[in-house]
Symmetry: C2
Subunit: 346 residues, 2 copies
């Protein structure tokens, strides 16, 4: 794998004051990778993990052996608890916990956060009860007091920390916030594009796994590449419809955070969601697959359940994704669904 | 592989008069597959091959052993020469020869063609000398006398003839022409979408191989999935820029004939162009690859050469595709190109 050499990174001069302090909440693969990046860019990172053993690993071994094994973290990544002092010392807080934990984690820090803080969502998904995107959960918890940004794009964590050329989109209503975050994160192997379409930027990441599960099922059922490519195009149009519901723009959906991330998820051999979908299509039960693969319910399954509520709330036409949901939850024959789909006017 | 059963096809009633006669010029994989489809839909197909031995095969063995082996052609596919009688008997003529032969083949039939004829382009590419899309070559040869349509989409020929669910787009300035061709081609395993954006429909098919070669090179050079997904998104935007030059619409580019076909070409393991690109990226010379793989110069290489002329003619910004071209033809270091690319404002 081609990567950027260490000395090239240090040559990349930072415009922000090096040595400044940022917080990262969540030490999964992506939270850890962003911590690595920030630290390599010269910042002091306070990294908080939901899981105590992961925090201990990072402290003692300088590695996140569970979620990002084999990568030595720089000495300026320090594990921390979410305390008043942590939040007061870092005006930029990256939120990298799974969507279902975003609200409860933010509530822990609510009292310490001021209107000087910028909260940057790295989470991908939709809150099941409220159907809110992560940036909206942040705005909700802090009553619109803080500045909010969202980062999303086609970036496998294990490639970013190996300094593979990567690109993503940073979004905020305020362009000055985009500029500031870009100065912290970008370097000569990580390129950031800026946009004000904060809702649009989060939609691709939220639904890419629905696409991966769905195409995986179609593949597992034995359909060919022609069918998969047809339904991929249809799925992208449905993600576009979903973007309309969330207030995002079409041009964002066909950019890096949308199409780019969906392509990565559906092409790459790394996708858990595609794999689970394929096994589901081959006739295995979900619980069998999870047991056999030693994994938890993948994000795409949960989001697929939300799609029905979103379609209802927005009166949206999403025949492919809803067809897959019916196949999964009601045991409908997918061939019958596809037959009607082939003949329907779209 | 799931396919539609024989009896289900015959149940699919044709609205056009079954038994009508159509011509297909070109007996490559795609021309043969479309002949198969038309014949299964009840039409009499006059199939003309550029290569005499292929014509003999089809006549004697009822198979195109060179381009579509293992598929028995129905008895209502008949090989033919391009004569006055052939063209007079079929008011619909499908043009399925490689782009570089389209003009010379059409010139053979020019004197027999009347304003009652509909010519449907199945060819994908751009004429190198004139930078014309196939539909424009047709219009040029016949002085806009005939009706013109173009068919394009994510369809591997060998899957279509195995009756794998497939979909494509049929385009013509005249919606009545789209309707008529749809009645000939569509059935319960082949769905057609209609559009009047005839230029836009041909752009995806023309440049998908440029994308496949380009991403293949990036992969062969050792870059990761993050880089490939980033450059895929950039490439789609460049195809969109190219569509603007040819007078096509963005919505068409992100539909089946654009994104769908590009996805098929870059995801599928069947792509010759991706394979050749990968080997080029690994450092093999083109002539070595062609010798070793026993193949002719793939379409994507030829189109890549045209991209520079198109960029010049339209004053277009196409940094990724032109960078790949420079890498290929001038031996420029791709890492240097990518470095400048990572830091450029797009």
């Amino acid at each position: 794998m081609i990567f950027t050499k260490e000395k090239e990174i240090t040559e990349c001069k930072r415009k922000v004051s090096v040595g400044s302090c940022v917080s990262v909440l969540g030490a999964g693969a992506w939270g850890t990778a962003i911590s690595y990046l920030l630290a390599k860019n010269g910042h002091n990172v306070l990294l908080w993990s939901l899981e105590e053993d992961v925090a201990l690993d990072i402290k003692n071994l300088k590695q996140n052996t569970r979620y990002l094994p084999g990568v030595e973290l720089p000495s300026n990544v320090v594990t921390t608890n979410v305390t008043q002092s942590t939040i007061e010392h870092s005006k930029i807080v990256f939120v990298a916990v799974p969507v279902k934990f975003v609200r409860s984690v933010l509530e822990k820090i609510r009292e310490f956060v001021t209107d000087e803080h910028v909260l940057v969502s790295l989470s991908k998904g939709v809150e099941q009860k409220t159907l809110l995107l992560p940036s909206k959960i942040i705005a909700d918890v802090f009553n619109d007091k803080v500045s909010v940004a969202a980062l999303s794009g086609p970036t496998f964590a294990n490639e970013l920390v190996r300094r593979v050329y990567s690109a993503a989109v940073i979004a905020s209503d305020k362009t000055s916030v985009c500029e500031r975050i870009t100065q912290f994160l970008s370097n000569n192997f990580f390129k950031l594009y800026k946009t004000t379409d904060i809702c649009g930027v989060q939609v691709g990441g939220a639904f890419k796994n629905v696409m991966a599960i769905s195409l995986g099922i179609v593949c597992g059922l034995g359909y060919g590449e022609n069918t998969i490519s047809f339904l991929f195009t249809q799925g992208m149009q449905e993600i576009n419809v979903l973007a309309g519901f969330f207030g995002g723009k079409q041009e964002t959906i066909y950019g890096l955070s949308g199409l780019g991330d969906v392509f990565l998820t559906c092409r790459g051999s790394h996708s858990k969601n595609f794999k689970v979908g394929k096994l589901l299509g081959q006739g295995y039960q979900l619980h069998e697959i999870l047991e056999q693969q030693k994994m938890v319910v993948p994000e795409g399954i949960n989001t697929l359940y939300s799609v029905k509520d979103i379609a209802k709330a927005g009166n949206l036409a999403l025949p492919f994704f809803l067809g897959i949901r019916e196949y999964l939850t009601d045991g409908k024959c997918f061939k019958v669904l596809l037959d009607s789909f082939m003949n329907m006017k779209l």
